[in-house]
């Protein structure tokens, strides 16, 4: 059962969300959202979650995201900070049935259908190039290990993007975690399971991925650019961990799509690290209301 809008004792957050809409229409939206939330509770198990061309499904997914946004990290429902007695939506972390076809992310943000598939195509081509460059087919002279490592680390960020964009993360928390992994694949860290001492005594090209891996492959991780890059990676990791533990979406406020160019242009000057769940929900409920009005 959806907690945000259907509870008889309307929580403060829901009141704030509803205040974004015009009063008469807002009541109508609330009734509609109640129906959608109820449908969503069964729909998640029935597979009716935001498929292409399904207008109701899109709205339902966003409505559910509003409900998910009000949940804590433990998965239990909260209404204005207090635990609710009603059963929260039971949603899997990943909706595998709609892999690569979902029209909304786990936090309710719209997704175009091609998102992530470009990376799959690029990865296939790049991997073929890497196989050829590694001398597997004898057609090309094998590249030196350093150059091959540089090419290899270039592709790693694409795997993070595929993981984030194609896998239908259905909860805000799983969405945030996947988004952080995507960011870390771009800027990134050492191999899992290896000690720092061992890492630093290995060949530089084996240290890390993404930007840091590229810098390490070019000039070595212990060089000044390598150390600086590693420090920036550490800062990124700390920010991502902070976002996940505080249940914040690690998106920049100007990078969340506004409904009109004038709106996002107005917000382009602000460089905000995280968008709180309530802020995101406010934005989404505004979008949903605009969607319904439109």
């Amino acid at each position: 059962m959806c907690m945000c809008l259907s509870h008889t004792r309307t929580p403060p957050d829901a009141l704030r969300l509803l205040s974004l809409a015009q009063a008469p229409r807002g009541v109508e939206d609330g009734q509609r959202a109640r129906r959608l939330c109820a449908a969503r509770a069964g729909g998640a198990r029935a597979g009716a979650w935001s498929l292409p061309g399904d207008r109701e499904g899109v709205v339902a997914a966003r409505t559910n995201a509003r409900c998910s946004a009000s949940r804590g990290l433990t998965g239990g429902a909260v209404c204005g900070g207090a635990p609710c007695a009603e059963e929260p939506l039971s949603v899997e972390w990943v909706e595998w049935r709609i892999f690569g076809r979902h029209t909304s992310y786990g936090n309710g943000t719209p997704r175009t259908l091609a998102r992530g598939w470009v990376h799959v195509l690029a990865l296939a081509l790049l991997e073929l190039m890497l196989l050829a460059c590694a001398g597997r087919w004898g057609a090309l002279t094998p590249l030196p290990a350093r150059a091959l490592a540089l090419a290899r680390w270039t592709t790693v960020g694409f795997y993070g993007s595929v993981l984030f964009h194609l896998v239908p993360w259905s909860r805000t928390q799983s969405y945030n975690a996947a988004l952080c992994l995507d960011f870390m694949a771009i800027t990134c860290v050492r191999r899992a399971g290896a000690s720092w001492r061992k890492e630093l005594t290995r060949a530089p090209s084996h240290h890390s991925v993404g930007f840091t891996g590229q810098v390490a492959a070019w000039v070595g991780l212990l060089s000044p650019p390598g150390v600086l890059s590693l420090a920036l990676t550490g800062a990124t990791l700390a920010l991502c961990v902070g976002c996940v533990t505080c249940s914040r979406t690690p998106l920049l406020r100007p990078l969340t799509r506004r409904s009109s160019p004038a709106q996002w242009a107005g917000a382009a000057g602000t460089a905000c690290m995280g968008v709180s769940a309530v802020d995101s929900a406010q934005h989404r409920v505004g979008s949903v209301c605009a969607h319904l009005h439109g």
């Binding site: 091959l148 270039t154 694409f158 920010l239 100007p254 382009a268």
Partner: protein, 87 residues
């Protein structure tokens, strides 16, 4: 320090390293152009773009962020070409 600034710093750092290390300066120029156009596209048009309506419309299939992805793919191909040139 925001994450955007960190990513921007990483971007600038790799650009400088590429300028020093890649032997072919034309390749360096191409990589720079594609990666910085991609970054500017990213910060200008947003990470996710809203769909308009429903159904298989162009807007629902391909958005501004997909253009950014396409540019990053070109950048990656150029960087691998740079690796080949370096080898």
């Amino acid at each position: 320090m925001t994450r955007r600034n960190i990513v921007l710093a990483q971007f600038a750092l790799t650009s400088m390293v590429e300028a020093v290390c890649i032997p072919n300066k034309w390749l360096v120029a191409l990589i720079w152009v594609t990666k910085w156009v991609a970054f500017l596209w990213y910060i200008t048009f947003g990470r996710h773009d809203a769909q308009r309506g429903s159904g298989l419309t162009i807007r629902n299939v391909w958005g501004d962020h997909d253009n950014f992805h396409a540019l990053t793919c070109v950048t990656a191909a150029l960087q691998i070409a740079a690796a080949v040139a370096m080898g």
